[in-house]
């Protein structure tokens, strides 16, 4: 029996998820939900998927085994609560929740209901970042000294445009949208930040939300590093995310395409030379059956479906892990007001 899926929210991410989940051999996408009539009409006209403009109605009528929620962040809480409350496995887009108390409630609810839960921090399904995590776990850099987490891209490059992303109360802004990815990578690969200092939320072109985020993060073990994120940087063709980690034995620079490792002495166990070793995504990419915008988008959905089939919670990107990221976002906001 195929897993029945529904999608709530058909913006860029929702459409992308729909196109990935629909051809999945173990899934039947039976319902989609959005409030935009132009998108719903297109589905009505060209596809056999049932369309809804009310997510509760979709869930109650289709009775899906799982839902993918890709609505604006401010709706996550009520939608996730409703789905999880009905015992439906739930994949929610990032960032997870707008307030910590709501996030905590959702984590608790998902545990109570024993549903598979996952959040769309897709970078963990990029081969280079996975390999970085493995190498750090194997201690190739020795004791860590410092790190930088960066993301740049050309989302808002002039003064215009009003969508939910330009509303600070709706989960818009570079901190929620862009920086959350970097924070989540830092938290899962290096360590969980417990303090933010010197934080700046800078408006460049947007009127109501920040276009750049700069902060110094302190991790649980006392290690410090810098966060530098700017979505108004048109020197990048698309979003580009990277981590640099400095350790006593060397340094690693990692992005979605390559992993550059510099070691003061060779590491024979890992087959790493003294000096530079470069590992490319061509060797590290996770194979997928359907490719849309990058292996990672398909691989995260494959993982979610596999977890449902095995009835085993995903080790990556659980609600609980996403909540940690929301807490760091909160730390940065509070610190920026000082």
């Amino acid at each position: 029996m195929k897993i029945k899926a529904g999608i709530i929210g058909l913006g860029k991410m929702g459409l992308s998820h729909a196109a990935i989940v629909n051809p999945h051999p173990d899934v039947e996408l039976t319902g989609v939900c959005d409030t935009s009539s132009i998108v719903l009409d297109a589905f009505r006209k060209f596809s056999r998927i049932n369309v809804y403009d009310d997510y509760k109605k979709m869930i109650d009528t289709e009775k899906p085994d799982c839902v993918i929620i890709a609505s604006p962040t401010k709706f996550h809480y009520e939608m996730v609560s409703y789905a999880v409350g009905k015992g439906i496995h739930t994949f929610c887009e990032k960032p997870f929740s707008l307030t910590i108390s709501e996030g905590e409630e959702l984590v608790r609810l998902a545990q109570e209901q024993k549903v598979i839960n996952q959040v769309g921090f897709h970078n963990h399904f990029i081969g280079t970042f996975r390999e970085l995590k493995r190498l750090l776990g194997a201690g190739v850099l020795g004791e860590l000294v410092h790190f930088t987490g960066e993301a740049y891209g050309p989302v808002v490059v002039r003064e215009k445009g009003e969508t939910w992303r330009s509303d600070p109360r709706g989960g818009g802004g570079c901190l929620f949208d862009y920086a959350s990815h970097v924070i989540n990578l830092i938290q899962e690969i290096i360590g969980v930040p417990v303090k933010a200092s010197g934080s700046r939320l800078k408006k460049i072109y947007s009127k109501k939300v920040e276009d750049a985020v700069y902060s110094v993060l302190t991790l649980e073990d006392g290690l410090t590093g810098m966060l530098s994120v700017n979505w108004s940087d048109e020197t990048y063709r698309k979003m580009s995310t990277s981590l640099m980690i400095m350790g006593e034995k060397g340094k690693i620079v990692c992005d979605a395409t390559e992993l550059k490792i510099y070691l003061k002495e060779a590491n024979q166990k890992e087959g790493l030379d003294k000096g530079w070793t470069i590992k490319y995504i061509t060797d590290l990419a996770i194979p997928v059956n359907f490719y849309l915008r990058g292996e990672e988008y398909s691989a995260q959905i494959d993982n979610f479906i596999a977890c449902i089939m095995k009835n085993k919670q995903s080790e990556v990107n659980s609600f609980a892990q996403a909540l940690k990221t929301d807490k760091v976002i909160d730390l940065i906001i509070e610190d920026s007001k000082r």
Partner: protein
């Protein structure tokens, strides 16, 4: 189609292996003149087809070609639409409807006889035609015998199973532009099945074909089966697997499939262009 098609990734800082390299490219090809210089070098080596995205800067290249008709008399362009990042960034910023408003040329209300946007939402095919015409505007007066849809859009339509859209696209390109429709995809087997299912036979499909199976979704084996058994006109792209393969072994692999009509590649120096072109022609003749 020519055996060798010259691509444009190198001009627009697209590098699947290194962000650093793509920045170097962005710096090198800052001026349109530097792009034209490399194109002219490609022409000198005997390349006559340029396969390129509908990036704004291609419009400038087209202006140059129109201004020098003698020099580019035999030169063809295969446009690939749309330049997806333009729209993807716009959707993030403006939403789907906002993007439609921004990119539909002229006054949206005069484009449609009545009802404006409400009317659009009932007539997607008309909307698609308007988008195609807007993207094709820059190529006016230039020979464009094959017109492609980019993989992001092809694979989105494919995944959503909106196969009739392919049928409409196919018909419109033939009727309006007297050109052959082409499809770029990362999912060759699924796409060919989908196109066949709506009556599109022997389509031109540009897809990743390389020895290590990079970006060949579902695995190399099924691609090889389709390349051997199915009826379509393949153009091989990503043949070097973003640089993971040496050119000789990459092209040797392609030569196992006589069905491959053309190979798409990009390079920035005349020596490199010449070498690759000769290698492809020698190995795949």
């Amino acid at each position: 189609m020519d055996k060798v098609l010259f691509g444009d990734n190198q001009f627009f800082a697209v590098n699947h292996l290194s962000d650093e390299k793509s920045r170097e490219q962005a710096i090198r090809f800052k001026d349109d003149a530097s792009i034209i210089r490399v194109l002219d070098q490609a022409i000198e080596t005997g390349i006559n087809t340029f396969m390129c995205t509908t990036h704004d800067r291609i419009g400038n290249i087209c202006n140059h070609m129109r201004a020098n008709p003698e020099q580019y008399r035999d030169f063809k362009i295969y446009p690939c639409m749309p330049y997806a990042h333009k729209y993807a960034n716009a959707v993030t910023e403006l939403g789907i409807l906002g993007t439609v408003k921004q990119y539909v040329p002229g006054n949206i209300f005069s484009t449609f006889t009545k009802g404006g946007l409400a009317y659009i939402s009932k007539d997607f095919i008309k909307l698609m035609e308007i988008f195609i015409d807007a993207e094709m505007k820059m190529f006016k007066g230039i020979s464009t015998p094959v017109i492609f849809i980019q993989n992001v859009v092809v694979d989105l339509i494919l995944g959503l199973k909106l196969f009739d859209v392919f049928k409409e696209y196919d018909a419109y390109i033939r009727k309006k532009y007297d050109a052959e429709p082409g499809y770029i995809t990362m999912n060759l087997p699924a796409l060919l099945d989908a196109l066949n299912s709506v009556g599109i036979e022997n389509p031109i499909i540009c897809t990743s074909i390389n020895k290590i199976g990079f970006r060949m979704s579902g695995g190399k084996e099924i691609y090889e089966k389709y390349l051997t058994e199915k009826k379509f006109r393949p153009i091989a792209m990503q043949v070097l697997a973003a640089g993971a393969l040496r050119p000789t072994e990459a092209v040797e692999y392609l030569s196992r499939f006589p069905k491959i009509e053309s190979v798409l590649f990009g390079a920035s120096s005349k020596g490199h262009i010449q070498e690759t072109k000769e290698l492809i022609e020698k190995t795949m003749s």
